[in-house]
Subunit: 116 residues, 2 copies
DNA sequence: TTGACATATTCCTATATAGGAATGTAATGT
DNA sequence: ACATTACATTCCTATATAGGAATATGTCAA
């Protein structure tokens, strides 16, 4: 089997760095495609294709205005990823505590466990 | 250009649902590969390959114990993703506020803006 | 209608999988 | 040494890009 489609879910869509850039750029205000092209530094067709992927998974919303299309990040769609990563928060806090403890033991001259 | 390697960064590594499952499973305790195989329901070689990807991007740590290898999630490596998604938190709060406002206006019988 | 502008879509190709099958390798018991 | 257990790695194939080039579509202006 090949890798899952970039349009299968937000996790796959944001795996591409350019798309993360675009989402950041579109987080605050609506922008037209030509502005995104300038900001990201990719050619227009590539930007449109990335926007297509982001739109299919609901990470951006579009609105037409004359010949322009105004895109904006749909932050709500990022929330599930935030929540998934949040489930690990208590674990990285624990890890930091263990590092701190180890440093304190070293300070006290007790010596390390030697676990590589 | 093809898609970036799954080993290029954590974002690409967690795009695969099975790898997210594995990270969740390994978040609390060390587990040996055979336990992961049972828990995830994939065959052993596939699990080993996923673990290899996760290891290369630093999302898991391994330790040998006799013939077993004990894997554990390295939560610290998930933190950058948590922080990236967190930059959108204020925007989804705004969105929720706007939805709420709209609902309140509708309740008051003022009517919507009609913006589709 | 014709032209210009803004954006989307199609075609093409090199690349990177994900999983299945088969095999390689390290550690332990006898 | 040999069988066994526990994993990792290699080989194979169908699939899905990402970007570049070219083209199509949609909108407004005269």
């Amino acid at each position: 089997m090949a890798r899952a489609a970039t349009t299968s879910d937000p996790f796959n869509a944001v795996a591409e760095p350019r798309r993360r850039q675009i989402l950041t750029f579109l987080a605050g205000d609506e922008r037209q495609v030509s502005e995104i092209v300038v900001a990201i530094g990719l050619d227009q067709p590539s930007v449109s294709k990335h926007l297509g992927v982001l739109r299919r998974v609901g990470l951006v919303r579009v609105r037409r205005n004359g010949r322009h299309r105004l895109y904006r990040t749909n932050a709500e769609a990022i929330r599930p990823m935030h929540e998934w990563t949040a489930t690990f928060e208590r674990f990285w806090r624990h890890q930091l505590d263990r590092v701190k403890e180890r440093a304190e033991r070293a300070q006290a001259g007790i010596g390390g466990s030697g676990q590589r």
